[in-house]
Symmetry: C3
Subunit: 357 residues, 3 copies
Amino acid sequence: MNTIKNRVHEILDGYDTSNITIATLCSHTSLQIFHGAKKEGFRTLGIALREPPKFYDAFPLAKPDEFLCLDDYSDIKNKLDELVEKNTIIIPHGSFVEYVGPKDFKSLKIPTFGNRSVLEWESDRSMERIWLEKAGLSMPKEIKNPKDIKMPVIVKYHGAKGGRGFFIAKDYHEFERGVDRRRKYSIQEYIMGTRYYIHYFYSPIKNDGYRLSKGSLQILGVDRRDEANIDEMYKLGSQKELKSYGIYPSFVVTGNVPVVLRESLLPKAFAMGEKVVESSWGIMGGLKGSFCLETVVTDKLEFRVFEISARIVAGTNVFVNASPYADYIEDGLSMGRRIAKEIKYAAETGQLKEIIS
Amino acid sequence: MNTIKNRVHEILDGYDTSNITIATLCSHTSLQIFHGAKKEGFRTLGIALREPPKFYDAFPLAKPDEFLCLDDYSDIKNKLDELVEKNTIIIPHGSFVEYVGPKDFKSLKIPTFGNRSVLEWESDRSMERIWLEKAGLSMPKEIKNPKDIKMPVIVKYHGAKGGRGFFIAKDYHEFERGVDRRRKYSIQEYIMGTRYYIHYFYSPIKNDGYRLSKGSLQILGVDRRDEANIDEMYKLGSQKELKSYGIYPSFVVTGNVPVVLRESLLPKAFAMGEKVVESSWGIMGGLKGSFCLETVVTDKLEFRVFEISARIVAGTNVFVNASPYADYIEDGLSMGRRIAKEIKYAAETGQLKEIIS
Amino acid sequence: MNTIKNRVHEILDGYDTSNITIATLCSHTSLQIFHGAKKEGFRTLGIALREPPKFYDAFPLAKPDEFLCLDDYSDIKNKLDELVEKNTIIIPHGSFVEYVGPKDFKSLKIPTFGNRSVLEWESDRSMERIWLEKAGLSMPKEIKNPKDIKMPVIVKYHGAKGGRGFFIAKDYHEFERGVDRRRKYSIQEYIMGTRYYIHYFYSPIKNDGYRLSKGSLQILGVDRRDEANIDEMYKLGSQKELKSYGIYPSFVVTGNVPVVLRESLLPKAFAMGEKVVESSWGIMGGLKGSFCLETVVTDKLEFRVFEISARIVAGTNVFVNASPYADYIEDGLSMGRRIAKEIKYAAETGQLKEIIS
């Protein structure tokens, strides 16, 4: 990793930092990334397959200035000179990493927002747990041996962030019937409560938010994920009843709903974010920029964190010009725009290497 | 229809198009229609029963400049001279058509936004299905013979958009017990997934959105409907259990919640809108202005379209000054304001006949 | 109460009303209260335990200008001179009243927004019912004798607004198993439908909203509460099934979701607000400022009101700069800002005593 980081920083040294291009892959959170970058005065570039996606025409304020069209996302590694020439900084999002492939992504010799080393820690459920427990967060218990399932659990497969194939089991029998043993899985206690996906931004170079021992932290919004078909299957009858029709719950994210947290939970939410950031320094050289803690709040008003995403997540799409959190920071602040502001400030103050890897 | 259209266009020829009045019936989406029209500089008129509804006093930016009060909505046909004198263009919404009556509405000799011929295609479930299947959209299967019910289905009555009386059945027995045979019904496969009501605007005269072979398309927002009492009945117990108390699910729309779609679904959403518009040209002379596709997204991330509304729908009420879609088009763009902008542009460029019938 | 009111009005007479400080306790809805007050040009003060809560640093537009830190909230009564010196007006919210204690709160000799006498009417379920029935609102039926439970009911404890311990019972047996007889409870018919928490503002001194016989009424927003663990427990299985794991539904508010009401329900919503305000004049000298009706809309499109909160409630946190109701009044109008505007107007026109107790 360090050789790549060194190479990337060499590339950065050659950049005209008054003329940066912000690029990302045309999916996931690209609308707000381009919209925010344009508002901050950056040139923007969309990476797409074969031809420019037509739907940006319908959203002129979020349409990138130009497109780089590839036959296959893996071809991006052959286009780096072109991107470097344009002083490009890439904003990675979940689909970016998934489509380019985690391995290729990690070795891309092109300036990228955030710390790429974070990736392996968030994509492997065991490493993720080590990190979050080191941060002192309260997570759902892990059940090592399926025979120990005595309470409701959720079985999750590694890698897949989309939730495909996840299932709930209440005993060993249900586990056995549901599991696909060819995939790497983990068994988590199912936490009862309401889900909140909290969208943080950590800046190592600005001190205008919630102060950490270095840099500062913000919360820009909160959402809840829509999941097909678990969310609405109750309308049809009980899960027990539906099994006889071969209908089982699934957990595929299809969209997002805006929510706000009870205000008295905010101090706890910031404390969790703080611990995650500070623990990341020793583990992988520091989380930077956007991240999301995926939580359940129980009826004791306690947070349980079941996952971390160490980059911009799709739930931030619920707010563009108005978020009941970002509105207390400044008007019209989306997560995409916050990222653009960070790059702008770093460029202006000669600190790009602090936030780029 | 053509004679009415001709008469309406004659009336339009007599209008002072620099002094148009935007009118609608005081319900449904009237607040945003008046609010948007006022922002675009139009004079506004609210059609109400007996006396001006008091609640507009609480929303000064959405209060119409004047009211036309009727004893009965059907009296509107006796007030056309008055409306014509004020250069009135009517914005029809669901309640407008319902209260005035589809027949009366279709023959009203007054300029009306959009294409009135669309009405019969969207209000009859069989014609609607012909249209949407011709557009190549994937719809829930229709079950002709109730005895063929082998999987969960939803039984819907024709006409009623409100959802009153709809019910779910999982076999013939449940169908028999639930059905009201005096009403015209259709039996649809019940699609598992999450519901998204997508709010489109199609302009035949502007090319600043997603380009079609003529004109262009926008998506301004997405919502999900609240339905009493299906949405929250699970809190009380299973449907099976509740039947013993005589409690059955119902599907009456009481409100709406804002949502966003997974961004990777947007290209599909635009493609669906495009096909609906382009197929409408041959069928009924073209859908114009606002429409809504009522969809379910499955856990395969596929859309199923279960209904179309070919005019502004109440779900657009969730966004006025800030929508996570319209924010990428321009600030403060509600669906009501988009309609007003279309009329303004058409008036300025002499193209009113393209969007009025 | 009258002696306290007289003393408070004496204090007000000594205030420099061009230099008012708005204060509240640092929780609940404090962000929007401070944000709104700052926008209207007030000095702001946060009341906190021990030290200033760090999380305000992350929300600079909502950070109070100064803090008053106490070892215990009950110490506030020893700090009144300091507050009076700063021309302080206190905005009470649910947590304020709960933490300071209803008794202490009622006798605090410091100018407070709204009418403190309302408190005892909203915090005791029997008095609340007397008030709302006097106002002619339709409430869920009360069941006096648990043995008369024949339909689903919800059992609520007095005082606790958080919902802790509430439970559903469908017969006497379920009631017996669930009830904590040491606490004062009431048994309400469980109303099927969808819940809407309607946020009103009543001004006795301004006539720019929905006119009452004195003053005027606004609706600024609507939300729905998230409740752990009732909201999502269905994902795990039926309540019946979950009982065998010792899992029972609970109703603890953890956050809020924005919603809009079907527009045709608005006239009814205003009429309910009107009746609540006008009936309050004879009962306790008048409700003033923010209040919330907590309603269910049935599939007959009828409101049932199950509770009133006679002050700003946390559901208003869903909108700060953009609400699909407040947007029709003026841009960027949160409930916190509406309160600040009322105080500003009253100060400028010499009417503070009309809204302060």
